[in-house]
Amino acid sequence: MVDQLANEYAAASQPVVFLEQNVDAPLGNRIGRWWAAHGSGSVTLPLIMIDSGHQISNGYLGNPGAYNTYKAMVDAELARPPQAEIEAEGWRLGNRMHFDVELTNLSGVALSTSNSATVHALVYEEHTPVDPNVDHITGRIVRAAVSTGVSPALAHGATRTFTLDTPELSNVVDWTKVHAIVLVDYRPAGSSGAYDMLQAVSADARPALTVRKQALPDPVQPGKPLTYTIRVANVGGMDLHATVTDTLPAHVTPPGVLTWTPTITAPGGVWEHTFVVTVETGYTGALVNQVEVTTEEGATGAAVTISNGHKIYLPVTLKT
């Protein structure tokens, strides 16, 4: 039923994330936000918290009671404006995740340890176990929760950068289904009482690459060697398992298609390869060579070199 609600928001492209933790082995300090909002006393599961405890619920509400209750809570939060601007980027480094965060405080008050202002990163996996009754209510299981306090104080309107790192994530089943969010929360009343979330953003690690290719010399003489250099750079947030395919032009030896399968690590890894072909004797025309890069992670790229081509300069316009 919570699954149904989560799927409805996702289908409507609403900015809502549903996450789940094991109440007996909670990660980070997130469950403390629930208790800060509730206070002491006995409760029944599940515990539900929206925006760091701005709204909470507990106990089995049945159906459609739970659906209607949680939907009303979420819709009320969607109507609130964010009170911070966050730019966040996630990096998968081996089996850890690293986050670069830029926070601009728009809350109207200074954020500091005095009001428990904290930047969090939550890493979760879309995971539905074989047995739907086990470890499953939202299908989005939290795998890591890390945080850092806002200290020294961050004045209203001020911006600061933060970094966050998770420990090794040994509990991930499928890294292609891992996502992350970064959020900032604080205690509006000061050092006690319920927390409230100022803003949250997606911080998934994303695959990205650039491809460059060089052909030297240009022009190249008939019967002479032509040196190609391919350079693929990982400019994304995760290792790339690439397939590099170079289609050699006609009129060079050896002819055909060359393929390599490098792993290009993040952050900033570079794969570079140089090889030499020989131009056919007597051939003076253009030599067009294309390299294409695909990756298991989804990033793609291509580059073309034209040797012995005639240069002409054309005006470039763009219709918008």
Binding site: P15, V23, L78, P81, I181, S202
Partner: protein, 52 residues
């Protein structure tokens, strides 16, 4: 009127009518992985329960 002067007049007219070079749009493109305040609040619902 020389060809150069004609090109200058045509380019000036295009700019006056709001035409913008492609570079402007390339620079405005947002890098992947970032979200901005232009979006609404991202609501986070967290559940704590007992597996099984």
């Amino acid at each position: 009127m020389s060809r150069l002067v004609r090109v200058f007049i045509l380019l000036s007219a295009a700019l006056a009518l709001g035409w913008q070079p492609a570079l402007t749009h390339l620079l405005a493109a947002q890098p992947p992985g970032n979200e901005s305040l232009a979006q609404s609040r991202l609501v986070v619902l967290e559940t704590f329960m007992r597996p099984g």
